[in-house]
Amino acid sequence: MTCPENDLFPDAKGHYGVYGGRYVAETLMPALLELERAYKTIAQTPQFASELGVLLRDYAGRPTPLFYAQRLSERLNGARIFLKREDLTHTGAHKINNTLGQALLSQKMGKKKLIAETGAGQHGVATATCAALFGMQCRIFMGREDIRRQAPNVLRMKLLGAEVISVDSGTGTLKDAMNEALRYWVDSVQDTFYVIGSVAGPHPYPLMVRDFQRIIGVEARAQILEKTGKLPNRLIACVGGGSNAMGLFHPFLDDPVEMIGVEAAGRGIETGFHAATLGAGSVGILHGSKSYVLQDQNGQIQEAHSISAGLDYPGVGPEHALLKDSGRVRYVSATDEQAMEAFGMLCRMEGIIPALESAHALAFAVSEAPRSSKDHVFLVNLSGRGDKDLGHVSEIIDQTNTPLSR
């Protein structure tokens, strides 16, 4: 079950086994090489770690609590469920851990402008927040459809001084926002730092984002040991690109702990309308790295479908692909409906409104807990809060006549 060789990834060229790498146009290669050098020489110094540590504590509000969801656990009458409360960070999701790290690095590299792609808007908000904090210019690329689904976050980004650019190409979701951010970066690469929000993209992004998100797992590991005196039986996190899951999982890779990544099954994998890249995709190259992707037999990338904008992505981080193949992490999926049910349950049972993304991880915990023994512990990453989703949730409630409480 343990896998000590995980510290070896990625290799010098950014490969995770056959995955990862740098599949980008030549114009961007020098920028990626520069970023890799800067990441090694600047971001991995004790001074950088200490500066970032202060920001994470005093600005982002870390450490985030580990909360025992007692009423939910008792109701499910099985495993005890603990929630890692990333929703309680400043800006309301784990994304800030990474954007603070990348923005601090961009400062030290002398870049003046930040750009980012965003799906649910949490990464865009977190990037815009850092830009305001550091006094930098900021442009956020967001799909037209996501702008509609996540209106509050669009307003937040604008209030924070960022320019939000609506991306109309493709399906107007995260994939297209990332395409457009890459196109913009190709033109502005000399003075602009591209803050990628997931463990996806070309090397060194999957490595850098993982390292900045590892704090989730490092804290959670110490907290669960303190609260229960033992390691958890299962870690559960949702996977779109996979940054919150990688952040939670990575510090536990050498421990005898089962790990489960929950992808979005949308309307059901069998319908074709889903975002279960690891569960139903195949190996390909998207946005600069090799991993699993949703694609047709000719290598054209297909649309993903999920109720949750943050999971609505036809790719996934390359390290997840490796962890899937090695069997170290099990990847499952939850449908829109299952996520909505878990969403409602957490609201009513614990007084916590989770992000629809995180509700996918909860959905798995909710379905599995009753089948597990009461001395089992599930540690679920509550990656973000659901305020951003309220408009969208309200539409769904109206469409489906779901009662608000039962």
Binding site: M29, G170, V186, G288, Q295, G299
Partner: protein, 270 residues
């Protein structure tokens, strides 16, 4: 000698530079695309870059994004593109380069792609998002070297890297005139000249310059310093604006003639 070398030798003897045309294969349809290409070749096109449409063309501007989307809507795949090349080879002698993103080739299979492309009559391939750091996985599966590997050199490519990139290229070098995606404006001929001279000292391969080249004036300016001029978005824009026009092929041929005229300004080499 392969068709690319032959063509550049011929051009040198005539005192001409290469007019390289990029088209998204199968836009607006396979049959019209073939008709357009034949007309452009008759009008004096020197090298054809045939673009494999891709769902996520991150290095392309809006014009080529749309042309790619039109071709995809018509069901064009890498398969189709290779079939088109085989059809064109029956009556076209100029070099044909497959211009593609990596994923369609990866999914097709690198070896199978090599074999089918060579059999169809392709002379080279340019994989936009496959830098030297990653390209061994493709070329390592090629049984021989009958297919030239055209590489990109960008304005951001530093000196030492120019040697690395050029050292693993064959056929010619595609020099990107400016940072940014295809079809963007703001060609700086002075800067291009300086860059061309710098790359010349690193390689003996012919240098073709593209991105942002659209007018006869642009072509004339580039032709005085480089060995070839690549025009893409300007052709695609004409296609887009004349999809319903029966004289589209004629229009494309006229454009090729007017651009080609600008490549004949140099003195013949002796």
């Amino acid at each position: 000698m392969n068709r690319i070398e032959t063509r550049f030798q011929l051009l040198r003897s005539r005192g001409e530079k290469a007019l390289v045309g990029f088209l998204s294969a199968g836009d607006p349809s396979v049959s019209r695309s073939l008709e357009i290409i034949r007309a452009m070749c008759d009008a004096g096109l020197d090298i054809l870059e045939l673009g494999v449409p891709f769902s996520d063309p991150t290095a392309d501007g809006p014009v080529i994004q749309r042309s790619s989307a039109r071709a995809l809507a018509g069901g064009v795949s890498l398969h189709t593109v290779l079939d088109m090349i085989a059809a064109l080879r029956k009556d076209i002698e100029i070099p044909i380069i497959v211009f593609t993103y990596y994923n369609p080739v990866f999914v097709y299979g690198a070896r199978r792609f090599y074999e089918d492309a060579v059999r169809a009559g392709a002379d080279g391939v340019l994989v936009v998002d496959l830098p030297p750091e990653e390209s061994d996985e493709m070329t390592g599966q090629w049984p021989e070297n009958a297919l030239c590997l055209i590489r990109l050199i960008a304005p951001t490519t530093p000196e030492d890297r120019i040697r690395q990139v050029a050292g693993s290229a064959s056929g010619f070098i595609y020099m990107v005139s400016k940072t940014g995606v295809t079809g963007s404006s703001g060609l700086d001929a002075g800067m291009v000249a300086e860059r061309v001279n710098r790359v010349r000292s690193a390689t003996s391969l012919p240098l073709c310059v593209g991105f942002g080249v659209s007018t006869p004036e642009d072509v004339a300016a580039i032709a005085t310093v480089a060995d070839g001029v690549v025009v893409g978005s300007a052709f695609e824009r004409i296609i887009e604006e004349n999809i319903e026009n029966r004289d589209l092929s004629k229009l494309m041929a006229e454009t090729v003639r007017s651009l080609k005229a600008q490549t004949r300004t140099a003195q013949p080499a002796h």
